[in-house]
């Protein structure tokens, strides 16, 4: 999708990746129940950017502070920040995040993906599209759209 056309943001600011999650003793204990927490969701979201050979984390599109999870109430909320206010990829990025979460989380969770307030020109329209179950399902029926989403979600081998 990005090929052939000029990149909208050719030279983005790159952020330091947070390190691997430190494994604790309780995680290795068979009997302890580990609740799903913000960091775990954040780790799931190691998604590739559609335009750049970088992860969303490195572009600061997703941040751990903007990931909210409540294991008990079965809700997950993710806010993402497009790199520029006119980014045309915003919908695609949101869709990728949503699909990744759908595939990686148990059914019980209600997943809410939206743009960080005040960071995008057409924030409202994008949020509305992402919240609409039918439209997300329809988008995933579209083979070319699904292809781009899958590319974002495949593990990169560098």
């Amino acid at each position: 999708m990005s090929e052939g056309t000029r990149l909208e943001n050719a030279n983005p600011v790159i952020f330091q990746r947070s390190g691997e999650r430190v494994q604790t003793a309780s995680e290795e204990d068979e009997d302890v129940h580990d609740p799903i927490d913000d960091r775990e969701i954040f780790d799931i979201l190691s998604i590739n950017d559609p335009e750049h050979p970088l992860s969303l984390e490195e572009l600061n599109v997703v941040e751990q502070v903007r990931v909210k999870v409540n294991d008990a109430e079965n809700t997950v909320g993710v806010e993402f920040t497009p790199t520029i206010p006119h980014c045309s990829m915003a919908t695609l990025i949101g869709l990728s995040i949503k699909v990744k979460l759908l595939r990686s989380l148990p059914d019980r969770f209600k997943i809410d993906v939206c743009i960080t307030p005040g960071t995008h020109a057409s924030e409202e329209a994008v949020n509305k599209q992402l919240a609409d179950k039918e439209r997300v399902a329809a988008a995933l029926e579209n083979a070319s759209l699904l292809e781009v989403v899958n590319q974002c979600l495949s593990t990169r081998s560098i």
Binding site: H33, D34, K100, S104, L105, S144, N150, Q151, T155
Partner: protein, 940 residues
């Protein structure tokens, strides 16, 4: 006759015009066999020798020379004369003719019946006409009769030579001339001139020099010429002095080194002014030293000169040149010694010592002259630094006197000064200044190293002083010097050391103990004092008789100090001592040390182990001794009534010697083995019986091949045998296999396989000299996998897990690359293993499977359905690690043609997404993500 000349003619024709080199041989053969004479050959050569073409002439001469080289012995005197005349004439010819001419001349010189005078004329024409200096090599005739003429010719031909190759050759010829006894005659000076003009050699080889001639080679060759004959000496000395006075460093160095080499100088050293000149130059070099090299070369030259002079034979009317020379030296240097704060003390002392060390006579003269004034100086000075300098000078003198002393029983030069020397040393030792004390001890060391100098009372006094310093002095450097000095004393006077020093040290170490607490509380003095005493003991333990005395003391110290840091420190020190004295150690002492350790090992477990480890490196004789001791202790000792907890330490002891090398014969091995076996089977104490089994295994591994070893089925022993491919090993494995069917022992036997395949860390490894063959695991696997499969198929359902466990234990320890190739055969068994109830089996099987899945064999593809079913079942295993392993296997499987399973797997993977363990969830997310991409656009 006609036939003969035609033969010669045809040969000549073929050689000269046909350029066939082999014809020269034929011609020579013809002459030898008498087919034609040399004269006929010359006649046949006629036309080619007179040809207008120089190359044809050269070719003709070449043939003649070749023939002459072969048959110079058959020529008559007349023929030789004619030929020489011919060749001399030819030398004037074109230069291309010259090489074969020279060759021919060379051949002619070998003739036995050379006409008198012909050699002279030959050489004369050679020297006259040959301009190319490369031809110098032809001068190496052995013609003594030539004498002066030849030398003159040589001198002329070498004059002005520049090529290093020719120079090297020329120097060698000159050396041969000198050594060969040629009569140099009136040309001695000329020969010297022509060679010495190259001195000192100033040559730096060009980079990439193809001839590889170095400056050093030239220097050596020239030096050999110049110092080769006494006749050169009178010319050489002024030259050397002149070069010494020059400013060029390398010239100075070279002259000094030449001086050192020159053993013929003495002849002309009678000449007084030359001696003075030399002495002045050398003194200047040492006094105004600019480089260490020149200084040491100067000192060496002085020593060489002096020893040269000492050897010179005196004629009745001449004065003693040695004493004259030494008088110069003393006159110039002695007064410097009287001014200890001046800079020139050390150079003068060095010069004097250099002269002193040259010969006994010189040392006599110099010591007698210098020593009294030095001693007097010392007594008059009050400043410590002055005294120290003086002492150091004295020490150097003692040292140089020692160097020149011959081995016969001459009275020492210093004997006259013994008393005075001792008194200043002892007075210095009683000073409080530590550097003075150190110097004094080193003087004492030097004195002590001279046999027959010090008398008993001196040594006793010295030992008293040393003991006092050892016990009271805090300075580390002082005690180090004292310890060293004590060692030197012990070398020559062991008896006194035994009677005086050791008892005192012993007394101090043990009576000091009463004060221990208060001292340690205040300063910790006692500890360091003890350490000093110990190191002194170690230092004196260099003679066997001393060792015999000192070891009991050391042991006693050890016994009395068995706790805390102090003990540890001392033990390490002691071990150092032991290792040091082992060289001189009598057997009985070693045994007593060893017994001490054996008997006291409750106290010093660590130390003992360390020490015994050291024993391993002892010669086998001693190793055998300790082994037999350990065995008898174990077998006959008080094992039975020792408390239980000391048992493992016995084992420890035993284990140490199990680590002996293969060659060590362990005594009573059968008895030991049976005792160990009984213990490993009957003992209830777990640590004891495992270590007993380990020791047993270690011994069995080393036991000579062919002994009967069929009594035990313990896996440890099996492993010992496996490691070395013992033939009896199969019976043991069969036994283990049969145990798998046993209801009670089955699981344990299966675990035994894990032991068999794993690396042992304590006894059965290479570090303990176990006999470990390469690839023993692969071997075991290839021999027994079939048996295992067979046994599994035959076994009743409830016994099958044992086999599976054994299998997964074996496979798990195999190297990965072997696993990958071997697994397909065992796949059905492994799949079976995945469905049996044991979690450990699951885990080890999964860990075997995973690397195989990366590159799956065809067999596996056919069994995908079964594999996926089993893996999905394991996702809900109670063990977290099993869940993780199976999920990771499933993730890897997504690379296969598994599209038909996609929906099923995705559904099954939804469940572990909500697993209670985060690590499992992470693996599940990974696996599910991979499977989602399968068959989807943009995925795989």
């Amino acid at each position: 006759m006609a036939a003969e000349s035609t033969l010669a003619l045809s040969l000549v024709e073929e050689f000269v015009s046909g350029l066939q080199d082999s014809k020269a041989k034929d011609a020579a053969k013809g002459v030898k066999d008498g087919k034609f004479t040399v004269l006929q050959l010359v006649e046949a050569l006629g036309s080619s020798l007179t040809s207008s073409q120089p190359h044809t002439r050269a070719r003709g001469v070449h043939l003649l020379s070749e023939v002459l080289q072969e048959c110079y012995g058959d020529l008559t005197e007349r023929e030789v004369e004619v030929l020489i005349a011919f060749y001399e004439n030819r030398l004037k010819d074109h230069y291309v003719v010259t090489p074969p001419v020279l060759k021919g001349l060379k051949a002619l010189t070998k003739c036995t019946n050379l006409p008198p005078g012909s050699a002279v004329s030959m050489l004369r024409s050679v020297f006259q006409d040959i301009h190319v200096q490369v031809r110098l090599s032809y001068c190496t005739f052995k013609l003594k009769g030539l004498g002066a003429d030849f030398v003159f010719g040589f001198v002329q031909s070498m004059d002005g030579e520049r090529d290093p190759r020719n120079l090297l050759l020329a120097f060698q010829i000159a050396k041969n001339l000198i050594h060969g006894g040629y009569d140099l005659g009136k040309f001695t000076e000329e020969l010297f001139e022509v060679t010495s003009c190259y001195f000192p050699i100033d040559f730096s080889p060009p980079p990439n020099d193809p001839h590889g001639i170095t400056r050093e080679e030239l220097v050596q060759a020239l030096r050999a010429v110049l110092t080769g004959t006494p006749k050169f000496a009178e010319f050489l000395l002024p030259l050397l002095i002149e070069k010494l006075d020059s400013d060029v460093q390398s010239a100075k160095l070279d002259s000094l080194q030449t001086l050192v080499r020159n053993s013929c100088l003495a002849v002309c050293l009678q000449l007084k002014q030359e001696l003075t000149g030399l002495w002045t130059s050398v003194r200047r070099e040492v006094f105004q030293t600019s480089s260490e090299k020149i200084e040491s070369a100067g000192l060496a030259a002085l020593t060489a000169l002096t020893s040269c002079l000492s050897r010179s034979v005196l004629s009745s009317d001449s004065e003693d040149s040695l004493s004259t020379f030494l008088d110069f030296i003393l006159k110039d240097c002695k007064h410097h010694l009287c001014e200890p704060d001046l800079k020139l003390v050390w150079p003068s002392a060095k010069l004097l010592q250099a002269a002193c060390s040259a010969s006994t006579r010189a040392s006599h003269i110099i010591t007698v002259a210098v020593m009294p004034s030095l001693l007097e100086q010392y007594n008059n000075r009050t400043q410590c630094s002055h005294r120290r300098t003086l002492l150091e000078v004295v020490q150097r003198f003692i040292h140089s006197v020692k160097n020149c002393q011959s081995s016969d029983n001459d009275e020492s030069v210093l004997l006259a000064f013994r008393e005075a020397l001792c008194s200043i040393v002892f007075s210095a030792l009683s000073e409080s200044n530590s550097s003075l004390q150190i110097t004094a001890t080193s003087v004492l060391t030097s004195l002590a190293q001279q046999a027959g100098l010090l008398v008993e009372s001196d040594i006793e006094l010295a030992l008293d002083h040393l003991t006092r310093l050892l016990l009271t002095e805090e300075d580390d450097r002082v005690s180090l010097a004292v310890v060293e000095c004590a060692g030197a004393l012990a070398q020559l006077h062991p008896a006194l050391v035994i009677t005086k020093l050791i008892p005192k040290l012993k007394k101090e170490m043990f009576t000091g103990k009463l004060l221990k607490i208060s001292r340690i509380l205040s300063t910790g003095t006692h500890t360091s004092m003890r350490q000093r005493c110990l190191s002194a003991l170690a230092a004196v333990s260099i003679q066997p008789s001393v060792v015999q005395e000192s070891t009991p003391v050391l042991l006693e110290v050890l016994r009395s100090a068995h706790t805390g840091n102090l003990a540890k420190k001392m033990l390490f020190l002691f071990i150092g001592v032991c290792l040091q004295i082992q060289r001189a150690l009598p057997k009985c002492v070693f045994v007593s040390v060893f017994f001490f350790f054996v008997n006291a090992f409750d106290l010093f477990a660590q130390c003992r182990a360390y020490f015994l480890m050291r024993c391993v490196w002892l010669p086998f004789r001693l190793a055998g001794q300790t082994a037999s001791r350990a065995v008898s202790l174990f077998l006959d000792g008080d094992v039975s009534f020792l408390p239980d907890n000391s048992f493992p330490s016995h084992m420890q002891l035993l284990k140490v010697f199990v680590k002996y090398r293969l060659q060590v014969e362990v005594p009573q091995i059968d008895k030991l083995l049976s005792a160990l076996e009984e213990m490993s089977c009957a003992c209830s104490h777990p640590l004891s019986y495992t270590s007993a089994a380990k020791c047993f295994a270690g011994l069995v591994n080393k036991k000579p091949q062919g002994d009967s070893l069929d009594s035990c089925a313990c896996p440890q022993v099996a492993k010992a045998l496996l490691l070395r491919y013992h033939p009896l090993f199969t019976t043991l494995t069969d036994k283990l296999f049969s145990l798998l069917d046993d209801a009670d022992l089955g699981p344990m036997a299966a675990d035994g396989f894990s032991l068999l395949m794993s690396d042992s860390t304590d006894v059965l490894n290479r570090a303990c000299h176990a006999d470990v063959r390469i690839m023993y695991r692969q071997r075991f696997f290839s021999e027994n996998s079939a048996k295992l499969v067979q046994g599994f198929n035959a076994a009743p359902q409830e016994k099958k897990p044992n086999y599976l466990k054994a299998l997964s234990n074996i496979v798990n320890k195999l190297p990965k690359q072997v696993q990958v190739t071997e697994l397909p055969a065992l796949l059905s068994l492994l799949l079976e293993a995945l469905s049996c109830p044991d979690q450990d089996i699951h885990l080890s099987t999964l860990s075997c499977l995973e690397p195989v899945l990366v590159n799956p064999p065809q067999v596996l593809i056919q069994q995908l359905e079964a594999l996926i079913n089993r893996l999905l079942a394991l996702i809900s295993s109670p063990a977290m690690s099993v869940r993780i392993a199976s999920l990771s296997c499933i993730s890897t499987l997504s690379h296969f043609p598994v599209l038909p399973f996609r929906a099923r797997v995705l559904r099954a993977l939804a469940k572990p997404l909500d697993d209670k363990k985060r690590l499992v969830r992470r693996e599940a997310v990974q696996a599910r993500g991979e499977w989602f991409l399968l068959g989807s656009p943009g995925g795989r």
